[in-house]
Symmetry: C2
Subunit: 327 residues, 2 copies
DNA sequence: ATGTTTCATGCAACCGGTTGCAGCCCCTGA
DNA sequence: TCAGGGGCTGCAACCGGTTGCATGAAACAT
């Protein structure tokens, strides 16, 4: 089938080690020899087998990227940024989706462990304990989850939640619902903690909810029953689903209830009403995650913790509370 | 570091080949020995290194899945279905994104070639010539592109385009714009060909357009200038962007112009107006793609061509043409 | 008691690369 | 003339597994 290093060696009359060096340490081989080998390799369509190389070097030059749900539009910008950054560093990214299933997540990490140099865990659903155990098999960078002793990238969603709630109270909303996410979600906990310590707010916690528009649709009834005038949803998908559900029940946004999402995904911008949302620095997180991971290979570097700021994008889904003076 | 097969062999007092067989051909080893080896392996946290195994067996049990743009919501259902199907067959899927760049696509295939047993090419942007050349290095299944001699899955988008146009003409639209996609897109060509041979339609072709809402936004001005009353967009994202662009210019959908998208993505269902769209059997395509690929490993099987039907989902973005009798 | 199977295991080569070490050649300087 | 050193290449072991073949023991048939 495909030409191997020995085919090239034979055809160019040198030893395999010389061919090997031609590709992995060119400065060690005479220019003339090198050119001959390269010509033969080109001719035979030879390409070094990265997997075989990894066997001796211990470096695959691949990194794994595990996300909970690839169809959640929150992830693609992060994935793309990570891929671009990795490519620039001569690495490749393999993406895998766990379907929000911790079991699958663990299995995936196990499989990936030997085929990549490190793994980016984005919004993992596994428990910290399991993550720490798996860490023995492969280096991690964790995104949106705090695990001690591991390089971590956090998006400051607590700050985002505060901004969102301040925005709502500023508009006269005082009874506010917080739609929480999946039970394993660190993000959800952060939002809840941040919201709980704010003054002048009657907080109603509803959930856990699936982090999808379906989750938002399903909770609409409860939101109405709770008598709130403002809602902070776990993410934009939930917010969009909720708005849809409210709409079906004759409750209008933002006239009757104001809704804030999180993530600032494209669909929110195209939604009607356009969604007010907490914007997450996903692309920056993707780039930084790759850099942190590569960095962790080189040195016995101490694990870094990076916290990235979020900000609020005000659009049309929030407005003054109904009983609040309009003028 | 991680335990190897030799560590296990030493600790359990057998030869490495026995350990190897314990995992890859258990029936060849005595039950008692097997249990002892398994216990030791468990104890040491040993897991077979799939990459090393692949070196001799030639089977990685991985498959690659290459898409043009992971942030296009058309792909995730396909990806998820492929992953689920692969898992059921004891295979794993690595996803990679080409950013719509043929150069990147080729490079990615080259890299993946040795690390997977086969590759699913979804809506590739490479030319058939290049695809055929690369086929020497790794088995393919091609989705939404016709390449001779290769297992192929097509979604019958020509039929979908006909359904959409019939729907529009039935509503009294006779001057219809077709917003084409990227220049390398097979899908786009099929739509165009199908549309061109329909009677009673004045077809205006606009494009190529980027297959994103941005692409739709950008072409809005041209659509208005063309004087059409009906539009068939390359996909839902383009349709959504177009509707947004028309809206900004005071043109209303479906009152002034009717718009049909393709793919039936979730965002289209949440859009206002809800999008009329040609639904693609993406999940079925993902499952079938995996099966076709695995099948192509086993036998010297002749490459199959599967064509999957599409159907039209009518929602709110299409209505009677303005001059068409309403009653 | 002997020949034949069957079962379980060990041996060693191999997959496609990498790399420390040794050896050769040639150039330099004393 | 010869020691020393640099540049280039070959040798062979190694990475972590798999597998065809040989071996040995036990079980069975004759």
């Amino acid at each position: 089938m495909a030409a191997t290093i020995r085919d090239v060696a034979r055809a160019s009359g040198v030893h395999v080690s010389t061919v090997s060096r031609t590709f992995s340490a060119p400065h060690l081989v005479n220019a003339e020899t090198r050119n001959r080998v390269l010509a033969v390799a080109e001719d035979l369509g030879y390409r070094p087998n990265r997997a075989a190389r990894a066997l001796t070097t211990g470096r695959t030059h691949n990194i794994g990227l595990i996300v909970a749900d690839i169809s959640n539009p929150f992830f693609p910008p992060l994935i793309k940024a990570a891929q671009a950054q990795a490519r620039a560093r001569d690495y490749h990214v393999f993406v895998a989706d766990t379907d929000e299933d911790p079991q699958v997540e663990e299995e995936l990490i196990q499989t990936l462990a030997k085929q990549v140099d490190g793994v980016l865990l984005c919004s993992p659903r596994l428990s910290n304990r399991v993550i720490e155990r798996l860490h023995a098999e492969v280096p991690f960078v964790v995104v949106n989850r705090r695990v001690k002793g591991m390089p971590t990238i956090l998006m400051d969603v607590g700050q985002g939640a505060r901004l969102a709630i301040e925005h709502l109270t500023g508009l006269g909303h005082h009874r506010i619902a917080l739609l929480s996410g999946p039970s394993g979600s660190w993000t959800s906990g952060e939002m809840r903690a941040a919201a709980a310590e704010m003054d002048g707010v009657e907080l109603v916690i509803l959930g856990p909810n699936a982090p999808t528009e379906r989750g938002g649709l399903a909770v609409a009834e409860e939101v109405i029953a709770s008598g709130v005038t403002g809602v902070l949803a776990y993410n934009d998908l939930v917010a969009i689903g909720l708005i849809e559900g409210l709409y079906e029940r004759g409750v209008r946004v933002p006239d009757d209830i104001s809704v804030v999402g999180v993530d600032d995904i494209v669909a929110g911008r195209l939604n009607r009403p356009k969604l007010t949302s907490v914007a997450m620095p996903t692309a920056a997180a993707g780039r930084m995650a790759v850099d942190l991971l590569l960095q962790s290979f080189d040195e016995g570097a101490t694990p870094t913790l990076a916290t990235l700021d979020t900000h609020l994008v005000v659009r049309e889904s929030t407005d003054r509370a109904a009983l609040f003076p309009r003028g």
